[in-house]
Amino acid sequence: MSALESFKKEVGEFLDQNCPESMRQPMKSEDDAYWGGRNGSFKNDDQKSWFEAMAAKGWTTPEWPAEYGGGGLSKDEARILKKEMAKRNCRTPLLSFGIWMLGPALLKFGSEEQKHQYLPDIINGKIRWCQGYSEPNAGSDLASLATSATTVGDNYIVNGQKVWTSYADQSDMIFALTRTSGEGKKQQGISFLLVDMAAEGVSTRPIKLISGKSPFCETFFDNVKVPKANLVGAEGGGWSVAKYLLTHEREMIGETTDPSAMIPLNVSAKKDIGMNADGKLADPVMRKEVAEWEIDGAGFLFTIARLKDEMKAGQPIGAKSSFLKYYGTELNKKKYELHLTNKGLDSLGWDGEQYEEGKLARMFCRTKGNSIEGGTSEVQLNIISKRILELPSE
């Protein structure tokens, strides 16, 4: 048996023993997820024991180096672990912006001390992180951010406001872009700071969306003292860290599909609109719209597959991720428009049991943000025209 084969066997046995039955079903709601943190609590014993078993092996972060508590697995081993978990429908034991975002940045840009200080707490779910990038006047144009970090002795004094910080009200720490200098190009003078949310002067306010409650918050910094040791990378070098993370994020979003995306439009159309005697959808306009969407939808899935195959063949995806982001989010918005039209008045209920508390209507509203968050459609089109089509700037 090769080393990988025996690893696979070992993994299988570990999962069989340690992943409780209830952790082998898809999450039913956001409630079923464990996010860790100082105030994190387990929903039940199964969740706790599953998390602890994985964390103990460092398998909340399978490929991170073992010296920080990570799994220390090779790429091949990590792939085997992922497959074996998928085979058993094992839930992800820990959801974490620390794992998805900060960790990779620390591994690349952090000092040895920072890695030792922060990575273990991410791996073990002890500290929950949130991201502080956007500001009211720095959305698409992130580099124009204004939250200031002024040197006073060994500290920065941070003042300003962030928006769209997901779960800020439940997080222990924030990684934030701040302005340490107003000189030169605006991309210069940005620094990447780690700030304790419990520090004096930090406050948060949840953001209500047009779809209702949301995980987003505004985060305010009022003369917050942050030790200089919490600077990641060089002072003024925060833009590189941010760009590294944003590219990462964009690729993730390109691939994200929400679970209800799985209800095909033609199924809801047949059910909600009904069929004519000739076997055609009773609403001929809808029939055309659904067919058009489904062709585009299939074309999009084929294209994702094709780009993956091209990547395997050595063609980097590059700015094509902007195409995926743009096209995928516009398709998703369109799909919900069609779902609503299919379902008619019944799609518009906002609360109450009859309307599943407005699930569909709220999802519809929420999709409107798809083409804004993570880089607006306009920004993606700019990127495509500049980086792929190489059209000139003015």
Partner: protein, 378 residues
Amino acid sequence: MGLVITEEQQLLKDSAKDYLKENASIALMRKLRDENDENRFSPAVWNAMAEMGWAGLIIPEAYGGMGFEYVGMGQVLEETGRSLTSSPLLSSALISATLLNLAGDQSQKEKYLAAIASGKIISLASEEGSHHNPKKVQLTAKKKGDGFILSGSKNYVLDGQVADHFIVSARTAGHSDSPKGISLFIVSADSAGISKTSATLMDSRVCAHLSFDNVAVSTDHLLGELDKGYKPLQKTLDIAAIGVSAELLGIIQESFDRTISYLKERRQFDKIIGSFQALQHRAADMYCEIEICKSLVIKALQGIDEDSFMLPALASMAKSKCCKIAQLVTNEGVQMFGGIGMTDDEDIGLYLKRARVAMELYGNYNYHLDRFATLNGY
């Protein structure tokens, strides 16, 4: 008649605009919503509107109304679209008043039109399914003694939760999909056997689902001829569609105006975002489409007043185009506002949500496009 409004209509429009701005702004709508008000409109405001004569705008003077034309009513509805004002203006003062006027006999008109003009609320209960389909009537009215027994249900009755009376379309003959054999009844809301549940929709307004459990009504509650209710009902629904189109036109123009203002003020990448040509061209294209909407709405409103034989086609043209452009403009509005447009604090999303509901009322885009083609013989 030229395709412009008269001075008198302009005065009405201006005074509506001023009144609504002062007394029924979006702040009021938010307040009613956040306090979870059960009707989501202000009775005080509605009473004031009635006192100003709006509740009786299209009701003949003989029955206590103003005897104004529908073009005038359209101007007020357009303004309620701009201010997102919820009130029984659409349900009672436009729709039910129209139907009573078309189908009622002398004594019914005297009684109910006067009631509407004074601010009482009468709601049309005609929808049974999730898609507009006025021919599909399964609620039955069975002859019994000197009256009728109504059994069945009606959905999405606008202001139904607070109405004094309902006008109910009921099946008195024919199969459940036939325009023939539909009769109209006017029924007191507190009749024994009627039960109501409220539903809050995306626009944060409330409507009612009604259940009729052997509701007895006497013959004088029959509105118009037995079995022949579909004709006045359909004409009323055309007028309802035009009324909603006028409201949508207000929504379209106000969200567009707000979007243009935002484009002139928001800066990104060291530029006013309204200076970006891609946004300019999208805005200019919307401007053009809005011009088309304006023309279709005024033409349709005039079509009511002129009792045009084209009314069904004019209604379907106005509603379908206003649906399409409302969808375009409110979506573009949220997109151009960006992240802030997604927040509940900003008003633009409220227009999107009201538009989405109004788009479905009395026939959506597909319904009216299909109907327009049928009316034109293809």
